[in-house]
């Protein structure tokens, strides 16, 4: 057997007894698999979140005026059906396309948080890095007009690159403070978040006059459609007509796979995780833990920034620069639940990002049943909360399995002669 797979299994911290594989296959063998148990535990979390969300809707519908219990059921249906929940077939494809589009930046900020977690750092600075990525990429994409020259793709790539570099620098700042002065990265991250927010608002404001914002809505930047440097849609807009969808999802998925490979197959990933798991042992082994802290934060910043770039380089998305200073972007913070739900597994982040957006998409349609869209946020919060119990759920599954195994065993042999050992 090849050992690559084993390595990835071993990085999950599970009780050793979970790895025990019974000789006979069958239903018990299926439940003994760690993967099965993880998926089952996630399903239990999700169901529990939905059930409690449903109870909340029941309570609201029972007590609110002009609402009936039936509204709670249609609310649940809308949530569960997510993007498929309303309208004509045409509208469903739009909804589905939007879900995929909004999931891409979420996956990237999720990766940003996840890779920092792997190195033992909490990157709560994703919103600031997201904003820096937005600013860097939009500055490039909006200041060069490619509609006539036809260099759109090249400028787009340059914009992505500049955005990533901006985020990388921004992410490295908390890393530098942590490595050289021992300042907790959370504190520096929060400060850099607000610095970024104000910086970005000022950067695009009329006072600096760096980009001509005059053609956009007041307080908003023009979109990349005006300069022809948008993210390519590679025909996806034909399939999901009317939606924002572009090729960003492929960038996000590819980056997730790359991060997975870097973390699990390379010596660089080996070092990063070693520093995250046990900083003292990493130093004992001669690893440069300071360098690894800075690099990990820089990569995290780069990923969050890529999320911002992918989001705002879409031809349809407007950036509200004048109010950016007052509210940090949700995408940054939502990376945290995305990473948690995937237990920081980069490939898992792809699915958890899409899943959380799937609930969000359903939430956006909840108003048609008379509910506030924040019901979806309640359910997401509950699912994350229950994810904290996932080990407990796995243990319960195990216990049940052992009990059924024991019963069959006890039936086989029922004699247990006791021996007196002591003389």
């Amino acid at each position: 057997m090849r050992n690559d797979k084993k390595i990835t299994v071993s990085e999950r911290t599970s009780a050793p007894m979970l790895n025990e594989q019974p000789k006979n296959g069958g239903i018990n063998g299926f439940f003994a698999k760690e993967g099965t148990q993880s998926v089952l535990a996630s399903l239990v979390c999700i169901s529990a979140g939905l059930i409690i969300g449903f109870i909340v809707m029941l309570l609201i519908s029972a007590f609110a005026e002009r609402m009936s219990i039936a509204d709670a059921f249609s609310g649940l249906a809308i949530l569960v059906c997510g993007p498929f929940s309303s309208g004509s077939l045409n509208y469903i494809t739009t909804n589905f396309g939007d879900m995929i589009f909004y999931a891409a930046p979420l996956i990237l900020t999720g990766l940003s948080v996840a890779i920092a977690f792997k190195t033992g750092l909490f990157n709560i600075g994703a919103p600031g890095q997201f904003l820096m990525g937005t600013a860097g990429s939009l500055y490039v994409a909006l200041s060069i007009d490619s509609r006539e020259s036809g260099t759109g793709v090249a400028v787009w790539l340059l914009a992505l690159l500049v955005g990533m570099i901006c985020g990388m620098v921004w992410g490295a700042i908390p890393g530098l403070f942590k490595a050289f002065f021992g300042v907790n990265e959370v504190i520096v991250c929060i400060m850099t978040n607000w610095i970024a927010a104000n910086l970005v608002s000022w950067f695009f404001s009329e006072k600096t006059n760096l980009i001509n914002t005059g053609y956009g809505k007041s307080g908003y930047l023009i979109t990349t459609e005006m300069t022809g440097n948008s993210t390519p849609k590679i025909g996806l807009d034909k399939v999901f007509s009317g939606s924002y969808i572009d090729s960003g999802i492929f960038i996000a998925a590819a980056v997730a796979v790359i991060i997975y490979i870097v973390l699990n197959k390379t010596i660089f990933g080996y070092e990063l995780k070693a520093c995250g798991n046990n900083r003292n042992a990493a130093r004992y082994a001669g690893m440069n833990e300071k360098r690894n802290i800075i690099l990990s934060m820089a990569i995290a910043g780069c990923l969050a920034a890529l999320g911002g770039a992918v989001y705002y380089l879409n031809p349809g998305i407007e950036f509200a620069f004048s109010s950016a200073y007052s509210k940090l972007p949700d995408y940054g913070f939502n990376g945290i639940p995305v990473a948690l739900l995937a237990s920081n597994n980069p490939v898992g982040v792809i699915f958890s990002g899409i899943f959380l957006r799937y609930l969000g998409q359903g939430g956006d349609n909840l108003t048609s049943a008379g509910f506030n869209r924040y019901i979806a946020d309640i359910i997401i919060a509950l699912i994350i909360y229950f994810a904290g119990f996932s080990k407990l759920i796995r243990d319960l599954i195990n216990k049940k399995r052992q009990m059924s195994m024991k019963k069959t065993k006890a039936a086989e042999d029922n004699s247990g002669a006791k021996k007196d050992r002591e003389a």
Binding site: S10, I267, N277, N278, N280, A281, E422
Partner: protein
């Protein structure tokens, strides 16, 4: 002794045992941790429970303390069958336990910790006065010296342990379980604890003493029950047995308690330390002062001393984990005073660290990943930055076989799930297999059982015979005396004496270790002049 199962129906009062565990079996997936184990504790005796790591001692005690339910078997209290569902049941039956890792609230005072969970209150207000009187009475009665108002995080490990003991006594427990109580103590504190235990037994308390240190059993225990691999091996009176017999019972084969070794043949100087100083992190003064010595190829030099006299700081400076204050370290002719950890490793320094969990291993990594902890970047194990998994696996498998490292799933086992002895073996395998001239081994046998100690001692002697220089730091005087070719005693950060183990004894070393004596060494002056 009576083993009639119907006995308990009639002999509730006549039972000679305060606690009897009969036929206890506890199975975990894949392992029978306890297999039909019997343990009988008499009133007022100190009963040792001996076994190697993983023999099932802790499981058995967890069953007694209500943390686990046995699959089979019964527990009797004074001959009456009882069911212990949780630690509260155990406390109600008068069973108390001092865990190996203390369960104290660090930021609470000693008194608060003792009464925590058993507070006397009036109208919801704590009545500490009475509690204080009771605690002070108990502390005087049993010679358990504590300061009731000291905060736990500020007091010594020994006093923390006395706090734990008082916790049990405060609850009027009369069956006291001590789980490896000496593992964290200095030799002086161990002696003190032994006296306390004897005093407690004399007052009619029954003590269960979990350990794998034979000397302690011989010193205090009345009887000893031996477990091996989850099975009951036997119970013996310590008066009628010897250390050798106990260790053979525990390991299941004949164990050499004292390793044989030939005369050392020292070669060239490998390590030379001159006037080394290390600054303290907390205070202004140096924790290591003017330390100078040489280690030659083919000899074992041992630094003896009471814990906390600068040994750890010295080793950290020597191995590059902490910066050197002043002085010079030369390894194999090259100055490594300011070299990085990795460069020292390249120059031939292998290091078995004091704390295997803090420094030695990445517990959530697999065994094979830990085996290449300092070598993962070498061309043998990587290809353009990608790990060569097959080579890593092959290398790890070789070491596992050579050093007999046992684990659940071989090279892929998560190190966290391995026993302490096998974790230490893994570190030793890794450090000895690297290309090295000098081996720095800090308490390499701490917390290990005799079988593992024998193995490690043999490996260290083999290293010496292969012509490597070995610097050993140990707190166990037995180990110092048997293993070393030359002894340096460290007291308050200074080398206060140099001895030949054949020409000195433990008492003399103890005097130097305690700072009562020091050699006015001419060597120091000589090195100062250099």
């Amino acid at each position: 002794m009576n083993h009639n199962p119907h006995m308990n129906t009639t002999a509730a009062e006549g039972s000679p045992y305060v606690i009897e565990m009969r036929g206890i079996t506890k199975e975990f997936p894949g392992i029978k941790a306890n297999d039909n184990i019997t343990l009988q504790l008499k009133r007022g005796e100190i009963h040792a429970l001996l076994g190697e790591n993983g023999a099932g001692k802790s499981t058995l005690m967890s069953v007694l303390f209500g943390l686990y339910q046995p699959d089979e078997g019964q527990i009797f209290r004074d001959g009456v069958p009882v069911k212990i569902n949780d630690p509260n049941d155990a406390t109600a039956l008068g069973i108390g336990m001092v865990h190996q890792h203390f369960k104290l609230v660090e930021c609470f005072s000693v008194l608060d910790n003792i009464i925590l969970g058993a507070e006397t209150t009036k109208l919801g207000f704590l009545q500490k006065k009475e509690a204080r009187r009771k605690v002070l009475d108990l502390s005087e009665k049993y010679g358990l010296h504590i300061d009731p108002d000291a905060i736990v995080e500020d007091i010594t490990v020994g006093m923390q342990q006395r706090t734990e003991i008082l916790k049990m006594l405060y609850r009027d427990n009369d069956i006291l379980i001590f789980d490896e109580p000496t593992a964290v103590l200095t030799p002086q504190e161990i002696e003190e604890l032994m006296e306390i235990m004897k005093g407690l037994a004399a007052e009619g308390k029954s003590i269960l003493f979990i350990t794998h240190k034979l000397a302690e059993i011989m010193a205090v225990a009345d009887r000893c029950t031996v477990l091996r691999k989850g099975k009951y091996i036997g119970t013996v009176n310590t008066a009628d047995t010897t250390k050798q017999e106990l260790s053979d019972m525990m390991v299941g084969r004949h164990v050499q308690l004292v390793v044989e070794k030939d005369e050392a043949v020292p070669g060239d100087v490998v390590l030379s330390v001159r006037n080394l100083r290390v600054k303290s992190k907390l205070q202004k003064k140096d924790v290591v002062r003017r330390v100078s010595f040489d280690v030659h190829a083919g000899e074992i030099v041992c630094i003896a001393g009471i814990d906390g006299n600068g040994q750890s700081e010295f080793i950290h400076a020597l191995t590059g984990l902490e910066p050197v204050g002043a002085g010079k370290i030369v390894l194999g002719g090259k100055d490594i005073t300011n070299a990085s950890v990795r460069n020292r490793s390249f120059m031939g320094l292998s290091h078995i660290p004091e704390d295997r969990h803090k420094h030695g291993l990445i517990l959530d990594y697999s065994l094979e990943q830990n085996m290449v902890l300092q070598r993962y970047f070498e061309p043998e194990f990587q290809n353009h930055g990608f790990i060569r998994f097959n080579e890593v696996r092959e290398y790890a498998d070789n070491l596992i076989e050579k050093y007999d490292v046992r684990s659940g799933q071989g090279a892929a086992t998560t190190v966290r799930s391995m026993s302490g002895g096998n974790q230490q073996k893994a570190i030793i395998a890794r450090e000895l297999s690297r290309d090295h001239k000098l081996l720095v081994a800090v308490q390499p046998t701490r917390g290990l059982d005799v079988g593992a100690i024998e193995f490690i001692h043999k490996e260290i002697i083999k290293e010496r015979n292969a012509g490597r220089a070995i610097l050993l730091v140990s707190l166990e005087l037995d180990e110092v005396m048997t293993l070393s070719d030359r002894i340096l005693v460290m007291f308050e950060g200074e080398i206060v004496g140099e001895f030949d183990p054949k020409k000195t004894d433990v008492q003399t070393l103890g005097m130097y270790m305690a700072g009562a004596k020091r050699q006015n060494s001419s060597k120091e002056e000589m090195t100062d002049a250099e």
